[in-house]
């Protein structure tokens, strides 16, 4: 049974009562025992990995975890380590992290660069896989917010677009992430926190009248606009309709979704570290970085719990990560070192150890969060992670900006039929396009015929990942 549908039918039965949507969720779930929805959460960390500390020993189901993957040991039965993957990078334009960030989820050849921005900032050539899934799969539709994009740090080398975004609604159309948890909170709960249900209903009606005016204006524009401009108007209308659905959805009480209150505004460093320095800086960013990521994670969990959205892309930072870390620089843990610029240093043992420790730092945070999702019970008794497919990805293979041997992990559970506890390889038959992996993921959402990228950028959906 469709989760949203069951909510609606239940709502009809209690029409007129001023209960929060999330409370209704629980009531209707108890009443009808509906299966929880499937969800899609992409988590990206920057700067690739350190291969020697990443690859597990062994393949198939017979393997031992590597140093960087060890934090995921409690999730091993839910995890697939992907080997033999490459981004479909042939014949496209853009720099290392830049091109990788765009290809990661769009899987389409980049052909144009944004002017300026360092001269290596590619434009996306099409929508990203998360947006395509939402558009094509009823399993991901029907929520208040169609999809959410979050990031924990805004800094990149230049004003470049490519590394700051991984989700695209279409060519050149980034879905810009929220950086402040506070802004995510407001998008999810709006005016809910501080007012009555009647006041919320009134405010929403007014907001809907604002959107309605935009739609009528669009209709008038459509009559005079040349055909070439129609596409923009269609995109505008689709956006207004999406915002309208947010206003139509039931309101959620944050506390019912497991959030205690509005997150604070967190001021972050704006220091951009230059390349050829020692990359030692006077302030450590990792504590605030962690604070922001944790708040974001809590909001993602809340969004899933109250079914506010089913599709999320999360970036720890742009690929050119300027976050500085304390405690991790081997020769002197007292020093604060910047992540991405340090990766451009010569491959000394200290550099590699530092990059490994940053990878572990990110792995630990992700593992902690995924374990929370594994502990969170859904209406039918299953765990939230059972029903959530979580690719853990990055925009380059390693510090030398390669786009092959991508160090990806997949997490999930029985609800998404993941065949965990395995190291997947292509059986000695060379590298497979990451698009083939996304095509396999599509089957989770009932899209067996989904394809991504030009014909030479994919072959077929990878088999053996999902039951």
């Amino acid at each position: 049974m469709n989760y949203q549908h069951s909510r609606r039918s239940f709502l009809a039965g209690v029409a007129g009562t001023a209960l929060w949507g999330s409370l209704l969720n629980k009531l209707e779930a108890q009443a009808e025992g509906a299966a929880p929805p499937k969800r899609f959460l992409v988590i990206q960390r920057p700067v690739g990995t350190v291969y020697e500390n990443w690859w597990p020993k062994g393949t198939g189901t017979n393997f031992t975890l590597s140093r960087i993957i060890t934090p995921f040991a409690p999730l091993q039965s839910r995890m697939i380590v992907m080997r033999d993957l490459k981004l479909p990078f042939d014949g496209s334009v853009g720099g290392g992290h830049e091109r990788g960030s765009v290809l990661l989820l769009t899987g389409q050849r980049t052909k144009q660069l944004y002017p300026g921005n360092g001269g290596d900032d590619p434009m996306a050539a099409g929508p990203s896989v998360d947006q395509l899934f939402v558009r094509q799969s009823p399993a991901l539709q029907g929520t208040a917010i169609a999809s959410l994009q979050l990031s924990c740090d805004n800094r990149a080398d230049t004003p470049e677009v490519s590394t700051r975004n991984i989700s695209y609604s279409g060519a050149k159309a980034p879905m810009k992430p929220y950086y402040q948890p506070k802004d995510v909170y407001q998008r999810m709960f709006g005016e809910m926190a501080s007012t009555t249900a009647a006041a919320v209903a009134k405010a929403r009606a007014e907001q809907k009248s604002v959107l309605d005016f935009a739609l009528r204006d669009l209709n008038r524009l459509r009559k005079v606009a040349p055909t070439a401009s129609r596409e923009s108007l269609e995109a505008y209308e689709a956006a207004v309709r999406e915002l309208e659905r947010e206003l139509d959805a039931e309101t959620n009480d944050p506390s019912q979704c497991g959030v205690t209150g509005e997150p604070p505004s967190i001021s972050t460093s704006s220091f951009v570290d230059p390349y050829s320095s020692s990359h030692v800086v006077s302030q450590r960013d990792d504590l605030k970085h962690e604070q922001i990521c944790k708040l974001h994670f809590a909001l993602i969990k809340a969004a899933f719990k109250c079914d506010i959205t089913r599709t999320v892309t999360f970036q720890f930072s742009p690929g050119t990560n300027h976050v500085s870390f304390g405690d991790l620089w081997p020769p002197n843990p007292q020093l604060f070192k910047v992540h991405h610029t340090t990766s451009h240093d010569p491959d000394t043992a200290d550099t590699l150890e530092f990059l490994t420790r940053v990878e572990i730092w990110y792995a630990q945070r992700v593992s902690t969060f995924l374990q929370e999702l594994a502990a969170e019970k859904e209406s039918n008794g299953s765990a939230m992670l059972d029903n959530t497919l979580v690719p853990y990805v990055t925009e380059v293979g390693a510090r030398y900006h390669n786009w092959d041997n991508m160090p990806f992990l997949l997490f999930g559970g029985p609800g998404v039929k993941i065949k965990g506890n395995q190291v997947w390889t292509n059986g000695g038959k060379g590298l497979r396009s990451t698009n083939d992996m996304w095509m396999a993921c599509a089957s989770v959402y009932g899209l067996p015929n989904f394809t991504l990228g030009d014909n030479d950028q994919h072959t077929s959906a990878i088999t053996g990942l999902f039951g």
Binding site: D90, V93, L113, Y114, P115, G116, N117, G118, M123, Q149, D157, T158, P159, V161, S169, G170, A171, K172, A173, P174, M175, K176, Y179, K202, A205, E206, Q207, S209, V210, L211, D212, F213, A214, R216, D217, L218, R220, L221, V224, A225, P226, T227, A228, S229, S232, L233, A235, Y236, A238, A239, V240, E242, L243, V272, D273, P274, Y275, S276, S277, S278
Partner: protein, 549 residues
């Protein structure tokens, strides 16, 4: 004028052989014959106040002898910065504040990357809501009749055209619902609706069919002019000139341009547009090795940028000098750190005017901002500087290096070579040499400036040899720049950029008839910015569009 050009063309011949293959492209493009005006008489329209406006006949589409419009009729999406500026024009300068709003210094020259999606619409709707709540308009209305009157005027200015009754009827529905709280709240929500409407976010360039092309109406023209010079909507006087139709007369457009260019904020915007055309915002992404260049702090970066703003502003607006002086002037503005960089005594007050040493400095190309931006963290970049010179003169675009050379390029950059030696390696490689022959020599001329833009005669105890570029044609950077400043290319290019920005047409080139028609034979080395902008913004390519399907 003709003599100067001939001199420079002579220089071109000296290295014409260096251009090969895909990189073939003129240093100075051949001048096409002037265009013929249409033979039918212009329309004269009578204005409401009894005056007259002369409306030229449109260029006839399909007639090869006239210069047809390049740009199709369209809805043009405002950039984020323009949307913000327009919002503030409606509700006040302090209508929206925050760290994450678009900054003028980082504005892109071309909006091509801006595409409508949920993310964009949601952000703009939030702006509309926050601005109308935080800074509600002053109207004093306590009933629907008064509100409707206020909203009719407000909406017309926000949509930058007259509004019809149906639109106001729809808007009053927004008002009526919210006015249940209070009339003021009703107006506030209606204002939010106007500022969140697509008619606010899109500029109309639709016009009406006339002799096979689309002629923009006076309101559309007012917006084109206004956004071209101020990134914002028409002010009261421009609005009035649209309302009475006088703006259809190119002579009136010239007057309006001159009037607007007298305003400080407009001058700042136009200066910023030129800086954006040169990509100077990338300076803020520049990074230097702190062990080699400890003085390169964010403060110094900001000072560098500000110096160039002030230099450009001084040439174009304070002195009203020809645009070519942007290349030749020695007058600049420094604070103490910049003075040290230029080897001058510290000024009495920050950003005092100074004369930079003429043997070392000459205008924009020798400003610290440009030179520092076009360097890597530890060394200069001959390629980046060479490409910048090409862009500054609107020379043909060079293709990106082939993908197959990525590793070779990365290896070349890792080798312990000087920039001059790297250029020599590229010149000897047949795949690289073709394009780099048209790039590197310009960069090599600028090797006299280190990665911070400091003048130098030697590096690592080796003398800097700049004379080798272009087979010794130029004595050095200042000699090269002096000759460029006397040639037409730079003026043509500035004119092209002005028109490109107004039309958001990034493929426009100086050789195109639209630019030449607008320049109308003026000597580009003598053109002042006011005159140049008058010519470009009163030209037919501003007023007409191609029929779009």
């Amino acid at each position: 004028m003709v003599r100067k050009r001939a001199l420079f063309l002579g220089r071109r011949e000296a290295f014409a052989l260096l251009f090969l293959g895909a990189c073939q492209g003129g240093f100075v493009d051949a001048i096409q014959p002037p265009l013929q005006a249409g033979d039918s008489p212009d329309d004269v329209i009578v204005l409401p106040d009894g005056g007259t406006a002369v409306v030229p006949k449109p260029p006839t589409a399909g007639d090869k002898s006239v210069c047809a419009p390049r740009v199709e009729s369209r809805l043009a999406l405002l950039s984020d910065l323009q949307q913000l500026t327009a919002l503030r024009a409606m509700l006040g300068e302090d209508a929206l504040t925050g760290d994450d709003l678009p900054q003028a210094q980082l504005k892109p020259f071309m909006q091509k990357g801006t595409v409508v999606n949920t993310s964009l619409v949601h952000t703009r709707n939030e702006w509309a809501r926050m601005a109308s709540e935080g800074k509600p308009p002053q109207h004093g209305c306590s009933d629907a009749g008064c509100a409707e009157k206020f909203l009719r005027t407000f909406t017309a200015r926000a949509f930058r055209r007259p509004v019809d009754d149906e639109e106001i009827k729809d808007l009053m529905e927004v008002y009526t619902l919210a006015a249940q709280v209070s009339p003021a709240h009703g107006v506030q929500r209606a204002v939010e609706a106007v500022l969140a409407a697509p008619s606010f976010a899109f500029r109309r360039e639709i016009g009406s069919s006339k002799d096979g092309v689309r002629a923009l109406d006076a309101y559309e023209l007012a917006s084109v002019l206004s956004f071209a010079v101020s990134d914002g909507p028409p002010d009261d006087e421009l609005w009035a000139a649209a309302a009475d139709g006088s703006l259809l007369d190119p002579a009136e457009r010239k007057q309006q341009v001159t009037r607007l260019l007298a305003q400080e904020s407009v001058r700042e915007t136009v200066t910023g547009t030129l800086l954006a055309a040169w990509g100077l915002g990338n300076l803020f992404g520049a990074a230097k090795d702190p062990t080699l260049f400890p003085s390169f702090t964010p403060q110094l970066m900001a000072s560098m940028y500000h110096e160039t703003e002030m230099m450009v502003s001084d040439v174009l607006w304070t002195r009203g000098a020809p645009v070519s002086e942007l290349l030749s002037t020695n007058r600049s503005f420094v604070d103490a750190p910049l003075a040290a960089l230029y080897g001058l005594p510290a000024p009495k007050a920050a950003f005092s005017p100074v004369e930079l040493p003429a043997t070392q400095r000459s205008g924009l190309l020798t400003q610290a901002s440009v030179l520092a931006m076009l360097s890597r963290s530890d060394t200069t970049s001959v390629v980046a500087r060479g490409l910048f010179v090409r862009g500054l003169l609107c020379m043909a675009k060079t293709p990106s290096p082939p993908e197959s050379l990525t590793d070779a390029i990365s290896d070349l950059l890792k080798q312990d070579l000087s920039e001059r030696e790297r250029a020599a390696v590229r010149a000897q490689n047949p795949t690289c040499g073709g394009c780099h022959a048209g790039i590197d020599p310009y960069g090599l001329l600028l090797e006299s400036y280190d990665p911070l833009g400091r003048y130098r005669t030697s590096k690592d105890d080796e003398p800097i040899e700049v004379k080798g570029a272009f087979a010794g044609t130029y004595e050095g950077a200042t000699d090269f720049i002096a000759q460029v400043a006397e040639a037409d290319d730079f003026g043509h290019c500035v004119a092209t950029r002005v028109l490109s920005y107004a039309l958001q047409d990034d493929a426009l080139a100086p050789k195109d008839c639209q630019v030449k028609e607008a320049l109308d034979g003026a000597d580009p080395t003598a053109l002042e910015m006011d005159d140049l902008m008058q010519r470009m913004l009163s030209s037919p390519s501003i007023a007409y569009r191609k029929e779009a399907p």
